[in-house]
């Protein structure tokens, strides 16, 4: 069924712990099939708002909706369509991987052939099928993360809330996890994912929200946030044959060039311009007779934007 409402919606959400405003008037919406990256420094309120979405905590004010159902008034309906992966592993003693997933499949009322089928597919998807008989407490950190993801997926939820899923994973596991999240989004699942590794988020997320001190500072697609918050200047590095000083002198006369640094045969400066004008500058330098060997520009990454938007405030 095609729904007109967003799959995830936070409306004026507040969560206060005494005088601490862990979540302070946060509102955003995530459409079906989107991957929403939730980024912010430690203590920004990411986990708190994710726990509210997962019906594990209640907001002080405002509400949150999953597939149109309120997490306050209809948590039972929310739970049927939401899979939550917390930032810690919930393992049981004396239970192996298969039994663990089978238990949660039963808990989500999967009956008959559906249950073993769901367990098998989840184990295959997360690569845990070789470890079916291994006790959950004996799994490595990466395997535990996979098990936690498998548990969140066992009832085939339409919405996934993943809190720091890549924390503690080795580079290979991170790449695989990224691929898994993309695969889930391709199936039409809506994913809300938080991470400290911004480069990874930039690659997999359609929409990003930046949170600090409980406030949502910026929200939109990665490009939108870039446009809204990015410094219009690009950093240019030129390597040339011959005298860098004459090029420096030539550049210093141009108004759009700042922060000029000469370093041997290298010249670095910031250029207040669009990419098209970077090309024009290069052409002008060549026409002026400079022997340019290398011309590189670097635009700001999501990490730079994050550093610009946030102030490193903690509460």
């Amino acid at each position: 069924m095609i729904t007109s409402h967003p799959m995830i919606e936070l409306q004026d959400l507040h969560r206060h712990f005494g005088s601490t405003r862990a979540v302070n008037d946060v509102s955003f919406a995530v459409a079906r099939g989107q991957v929403f990256g939730y980024i912010g420094p430690n203590g920004a309120g990411k986990t708190t708002s994710m726990r509210i979405l997962a019906t594990l905590d209640s907001p002080t004010a405002g509400d949150a909706y999953v597939d149109g159902f309120s997490v306050i008034d209809d948590p039972d309906r929310v739970r049927r369509r939401l899979g939550f992966m917390p930032d810690f592993l919930v393992a049981y003693a004396n239970v192996n991987v298969h039994e663990y997933l089978d238990f949660f499949a039963r808990a989500y009322r999967l009956r008959g052939k559906d249950r073993p089928r769901a367990v098998d597919r989840v184990m295959e998807f997360t690569g845990l099928d070789k470890l079916a008989e291994k006790p959950t407490t004996a799994l490595s950190k990466g395997m535990k993360q996979r098990l936690a993801l498998g548990r969140a997926l066992i009832h085939d939820p339409a919405v996934l809330v993943l809190d720091e899923p890549a924390a503690g994973l080795d580079p290979r596991a991170r790449i695989e996890l990224r691929a898994m999240i993309r695969a889930l989004a391709n199936q039409g699942k809506t994913v809300l994912v938080s991470s400290h590794i911004l480069t990874e988020l930039a690659e997999i997320c359609d929409v990003v929200g930046i949170l600090e001190q409980g406030r949502l500072l910026a929200v939109g697609t990665v490009d939108e946030i870039h446009r809204r918050h990015e410094d219009p200047r690009s950093l240019v590095e030129i390597r040339l044959l011959g005298d860098a000083a004459s090029l420096g002198k030539w550049l210093a006369e141009r108004q759009e060039v700042d922060d000029l640094v000469l370093d041997g045969q290298c010249v670095r400066f910031s250029h207040r311009s669009a990419p098209k004008e970077d090309a024009a500058l290069l052409r002008a330098m060549i026409e002026a007779g400079f022997d340019i060997v290398a011309f590189g520009t670097k635009r700001q990454s999501l990490e730079d934007v994050f550093m610009t938007v946030t102030q490193g405030l903690v509460q």
Partner: protein, 560 residues
């Protein structure tokens, strides 16, 4: 790890037909077992798997078997050749009972408590709570797991207990009765353990509760052992072997079982309410159980009253238990939040009949106050009706002194006023405290304890400071003390000198407090049913459509 684009699609709707393994078709019994296993409570399955692998269970079970064998060998060796002539059954039985009662009355209930407490500590409960399992299923699962362990322990020691019957001196009804009540006790204590496990998530409180639970269970074990020892001693005098054929035996046991089961249901509902999400109705079921529990008690008391021809002790027991029951329940209910969630408001009674009679079951301190008062008033009305019927009772003559019934009427009237006053005052205080702090059931109960201590303690101190010989043991100061006043009325009747003061002051105080609480009660009564959100109605309609079987296709041209 294999990630293959859209490979991961769990289609829970399209379950294919059962495929036989190889060429072997599963038999009917296997299919039945498969279906049964499939329908079993998820927690029961998981905890059974865990328990069978756990060191605690294996150790307890091993020790139980070992102790049983050691006691069998040691007992037979001690008895020696006399085993053929004497009656050594009770002696051997008690030894086996000690071995069995420890796991049943201590290990299993404490395990049930720890099972919930550990889930809270290790945060595994969070993941459990967001599954499709309801709070009652969670409690049933945990309880089922405790019951299963109990049955395994019982089965291990059963041959030994059967052996004691062959040693003579102990009857089969006694063995079965002790078995039954120990099992019932184990289940009930496990239920209490589960409830205690839900009480708090704070670690230091959990430590306190752990210690209290352990002490309570050891006391229960000790009490059970003493009781069984007494039963074994009185075996011959009670002639329990003939008990099966006596009506009183069955009635007495039915009364005890009713009492235990009703409290079990209350604690079960309380535990489920503790783990239900905040917006859900946590109160109405509890109130229904409270009412049902008291209706059962009333039934047994009425039965006792009738067959005894109006014995006054039964009436007094009824009045005292009624007062304590409704006051205790009321003290907890008035700690509820006065705000009704939107979810609860979707299910409020709508009809005139519903609003008049069922509104008092709605969550809220005001409706709770009225519920407790109405319950007590109903109880006292029944008692007064019973008293009025006394002169025309077929037996004709009351076996009790007339003055006792006069006292009972005063006791009932003043008891009601005190309950109205104390619960009402507590409700006003709760409202005041709520302005700057959270008020829950614990706060409300603590406030009631404080009020009772103040109202009983201050008059007691004043009385002891102004004590004079030859002066009456009751003075005007004691009017404030419900315990003192009601005890005096119960034992000696209305104090002659202070009668007018009591009759005016106590009802007046109750009336004033009641009137002060009325606006709050009316505010709660104004809540009316609201429609469910559109999205909820859409889903309900979809689910309802799935449940309606498709209409048969008309094939006959004569069908309309």
């Amino acid at each position: 790890m294999r990630v293959d684009g859209d490979a991961m699609t769990i289609d829970t709707e399209a379950a294919g037909p059962d495929e036989p393994l190889g060429n072997v078709q599963p038999g009917r019994f296997e299919r039945f077992l498969a279906v049964l296993g499939d329908r079993l409570n998820a927690i029961l399955v998981k905890e059974t798997r865990q328990a069978l692998k756990s060191r605690q269970f294996v150790t307890t079970f091993g020790l139980l078997l070992l102790c049983g064998w050691i006691w069998s060998l040691a007992g037979v060796a001690i008895i020696g050749p006399a085993i053929d002539y004497g009656t050594h059954g009770p002696w051997m039985f008690f030894g086996y009972y000690l071995i069995l009662a420890f796991p049943l009355l201590v290990v299993v209930p404490y395990g049930a408590f720890r099972s919930v407490a550990a889930e809270q500590e290790e945060r595994t409960y969070e993941m459990l709570s967001i599954t499709a399992l309801g709070p009652r299923q969670i409690v049933w699962g945990k309880l089922g797991s405790a019951a299963l362990q109990m049955l395994i322990f019982l089965s291990a020691i059963t041959p030994c207990l059967a052996f004691t019957y062959l040693l003579r001196g102990i009857s089969l009804p006694t063995i079965l009765l002790i078995f039954f009540y120990t099992g019932l006790g184990s289940l009930s204590l496990s239920m209490v353990g589960l409830f205690l496990g839900t009480l708090t998530t704070e670690k230091y409180f959990q430590v306190i509760i752990s210690v209290l639970a352990a002490v309570g269970l050891f006391l229960a074990f000790w009490g059970g052992c003493v009781l069984v020892q007494e039963i074994l001693r009185a075996e011959e005098m009670l002639q329990l072997s003939d008990a099966w054929f006596h009506q009183e035996f069955w009635i007495g046991n039915a009364a005890v079982v009713t009492l235990v089961v009703s409290y079990f249901a209350l604690v079960f509902e309380a535990a489920a309410a503790r783990i239900t999400f905040a917006a859900d109705n946590r109160s109405s079921r509890l109130r229904i159980v409270m009412l049902a529990q008291f209706a059962l008690f009333t039934g047994w008391m009425a039965w006792g009253w009738i067959i005894s021809g109006g014995y006054h002790e039964i009436l007094w027991t009824y009045l005292i238990v009624a007062g304590l029951h409704w006051y205790g329940m009321g003290a907890m209910i008035i700690g509820e939040s006065p705000d009704l969630s939107l979810r609860v408001r979707r299910h409020l009674p709508r009809s005139m009949f519903g609003r008049v009679f069922l509104t008092w079951f709605n969550p809220g301190p005001g409706t709770g106050y009225m519920f407790a008062i109405a319950g007590l008033l109903g109880t006292l009305t029944l008692a007064v009706v019973a008293l009025e019927l006394l002169p025309v009772w077929p037996a004709g003559q009351s076996p009790s002194p007339a003055q006792s019934y006069v006292n009972a009427r005063w006791f009932a009237a003043m008891g009601l006023c005190y309950v109205v006053f104390f619960l009402g005052l507590g409700l006003l205080l709760n409202r005041a405290v709520r302005k700057f702090s959270r008020v829950g059931v614990t706060t409300a109960v603590l406030l009631q304890v404080l009020l009772v201590v103040l109202f009983c303690g201050i008059p007691a101190i004043v009385h002891s400071m102004t004590w004079e010989p030859h002066r009456s043991s009751y003075s005007a100061v004691e009017v404030a003390s419900p315990i003192w006043t009601l005890a005096y009325i119960g034992q000696r009747g209305m104090p002659v000198k202070e009668k007018s003061l009591i009759v005016v002051l106590v009802p007046l105080a109750a009336l004033v407090v009641f009137l002060l609480n009325l606006p709050g009660v009316v505010r709660e009564l104004r809540f009316v049913r609201i429609a469910a959100p559109k999205r909820v109605m859409e889903e309900d309609a979809e689910l309802a459509a799935q449940k309606v079987p498709p209409r048969p296709t008309r094939t006959s041209p004569w069908d309309d």
